[in-house]
Symmetry: C2
Subunit: 454 residues, 2 copies
């Protein structure tokens, strides 16, 4: 058989609806609580931040939400994304496993993030919004929203964590090329930023501070709303187009996965590939083993507590029930910046509570080792985040070899690493450290979780 | 009509043969001359450097050369590449022109270069070669060959111009991720390198020196051959798959270009998109206006002399008849490193002599201005080299507007700029300088062209 096995869907087969796992779960998600009153919030509470169409999606229990025509039209620039069979990797591993990967790095921003940036920009534009404010850590989300803003003619203001702003000037340049404004956070543009700077003039910033700044700008200005790149239900739902396409492409291959693997930070790319398969199983379809691969340095699913917590460190956001390391948890340095989040998407957390997924934590050195093996066989250089999924898939394939069993493994290659070459340089130079988090700090962070009885 | 208009060929329609323009030209190319004797060389003279299959392609007059199955198999990883109609750009320009672009940045290395790196690696592997030596300036070619070497299991040694080696560590890291060895040139590994270092210990290197090093290594070792990323007939022929696919895709659009635009450095991506259309015209098809866009700082087609010259500064290569600025010409600094070559592919030069193409020189600031406009409308960030073609296409579209005429414009977007963000940063910071070359130095370089009567 040929070395390159690529399954290409005709663009007429771009899914016409996103899939909403909530419709098939045995119990509904826990309510989102107001940060002050601890009472469930309603759509109106979110109206200053999000357009009504997205708020309705956030609370919807409908199984399918139609993808608007103009969104499908923009998706067509890079979708359907290809599904590959990793023949050369299989041969290098000498495994009987059948390894498939969905490649989301073909988007203009190079990751899965535009799958939700585009509809978010569209719905905001439809409701008359002129400007979007958001935060970004490593820069993947900020650049995806900058791209979507360029397409729909929206101004995009990105609060970028200062240490990344300084260390990743090329990500910033990418956002600016698409016309976005990129500001180092903490900034002097918001009260939240000014307060931090007054207290800590040399602050490196954090995702939590940047979220506070973006939320503040959106809440204060009528023409501006907020956009989030992961965690929320509607964001995860937009990503299900990945898994929906994969199902159709695996039909072309006359195959179905025994195992589905994704990396998890906030949970959106993982949900994107996994939820359509979990939903099919819940509706009576084939059982699938679903594996979430997270960084050992920020292990929300494997070491976090399933509890109500804030989404940000500034405690401005609503409380959501999720696996969390506590909002004061600061992970040690590692290169998969997109996976540095103290919590996990509530829907992903719920699937773990329901026993529908399992999770696994990997150190970064093992992940880069897998990424380099993947690049040298399959020819695509993965993002550091995606390397966690590559590691998970390779480990499953090696298990197949050890057990002498051929299983079908599907994983999501959520983005390329073109803007992450420093990490590869550090890996080759032997400079990657697998730094462990501080157990005492984790215990303290968990002890500080909000007390809902209070 | 929809904003995204993408023409996707089924992979069964990847061309089965490359197109050889030589078959349709009204006169044959000028012979290649031995650097010492000035007599035409034969296939045997090239045997130490290239496998026989490539030498035969280099001198072939056959119209079509079949693409081997294993090469088409690897091509299928990213080919057929998409053809887009630039609807959003057309609207921004308010032009009646119909602008199409072929996007070659979808390859694993991010440019058109793998179109020839893959067959070159294949033919070498077939003939028992174990190692390829090559040079790279900005790094596009080196990374493409590193990728192809990984696919076919060949060791790849890349001599990278020292100043690029130091300024572009991420390109080097990309090559190393694919398993290639990347050496700063001049190096201590070759006589050519050691001689330069003895004379100029602080030498920044040049493409000419790096070519000399790679050629020396290939000539001296039985298991090693040399690979070149542009200029040669067989390299240009491998790239014709771009134009062949574009013809089929424009048939899907029920359209045919009035104007074809490409950027030119050594000439390979330009030939790739243009030669199939020029050939069709020569065989009695529709007349096409073909425009080569080159950097004003290194203007071989617009200011060079059509004469025999060396391909390298060390004068180790054969003499070819081409448009040349003289092998001692040193262009001033500019960001499109892939277009810094003193000569032009002999076949491209011949088409200009025959009046089949026209050429145009652009300063880099005007090219980045076009590239940013393209990124903000079409969503893809072009490589600095590709920006020359974008500039040319936009200018043609603006001419259509001025004249009130709708013409079909096709250009080759030969690669993305993910590894060239420093150039965009300099552009946004107002730091890009349009440095002119020294007229006296050009005159001197041209005066030093080899005297064949001697």
């Amino acid at each position: 058989m040929s070395d390159t096995v690529k399954y290409v869907l005709d663009e007429s087969r771009i899914p016409k609806a996103w899939y909403n796992l909530v419709a098939d779960l045995p119990r509904p998600p826990e309510p989102v609580l107001h940060p002050g009153t601890h009472q469930p919030i309603g759509p109106g509470d979110l109206a200053p931040l999000f357009p009504m169409a997205l708020i309705q999606q956030e609370v919807s229990a409908e199984r399918y939400i139609e993808i608007p025509g103009p969104v499908r039209d923009v998706y067509r620039q890079w979708r359907p994304s290809p599904l590959y069979r990793a023949r050369r990797l299989e041969r290098a591993l000498d495994t009987p496993a059948r390894i498939y990967y969905k490649y989301e790095g073909v988007s203009p921003a190079g990751s899965h993030k535009p799958n939700t940036a585009v509809p978010q920009a569209f719905y905001n534009k439809e409701e008359g919004v002129r400007r979007l404010a958001t935060e970004t850590g490593a820069g993947q989300w900020g650049s995806a929203l900058a791209y979507a803003g360029a397409v729909f003619g929206l101004q995009v203001d990105v609060f970028m964590v200062k240490v990344s702003f300084q260390q990743k000037p090329y990500r910033k340049a990418l956002m600016e090329t698409w016309g976005a404004r990129c500001v180092a956070s903490p900034s002097t543009e918001t009260n939240a930023g000014r307060q931090i700077l007054a207290q800590f003039p040399e602050s490196n910033g954090s995702l939590g501070i940047a979220i506070s700044e973006a939320v503040e700008v959106a809440a204060q200005r009528d023409d501006t709303k907020y956009a989030l790149g992961s965690v929320l239900n509607h964001v995860l739902m937009h990503q299900t187009i990945i898994g929906e396409e994969a199902i159709a492409q695996l039909e072309m291959a006359d195959d179905y996965p025994d195992i589905v693997v994704g990396c998890t930070g906030g949970g959106s790319n993982f949900a994107g590939i996994a939820f359509p398969f979990i939903g099919a199983e819940l509706r009576g379809g084939r059982k699938v083993s679903v594996v979430a691969c997270e960084p050992a340095a920020c292990p929300s699913l494997t070491r976090g507590k399933y509890a109500y917590d804030f989404g940000d460190t500034g405690h401005l956001t609503p409380l959501v029930k999720m696996h969390t390391l506590g909002s004061t948890f600061i992970p040690p340095g590692f290169h998969a910046g997109g996976l540095r989040y103290h919590g996990m998407a509530p829907l992903v957390s719920l699937t773990q509570e329901l026993g529908l997924i399992q999770s696994r934590a990997y150190t970064q050195t093992k992940c880069f080792e897998a990424g380099v093996q993947f690049a040298r066989t399959e020819g695509i250089l993965p993002a550091p985040e995606a390397n966690h999924a590559v590691r998970g898939a390779i480990d499953e394939a090696l298990r197949c070899k050890a057990e002498g069993v051929s299983r079908a493994i599907l994983f999501n290659l959520c983005g390329h690493g073109h803007f992450d070459m420093q990490a590869y340089m550090d890996y080759f130079a032997g400079k990657l450290e697998d730094r462990a988090y501080d157990e005492a700090a984790l215990a303290e962070s968990l002890a500080g979780l909000p007390d809902l009885a209070a």
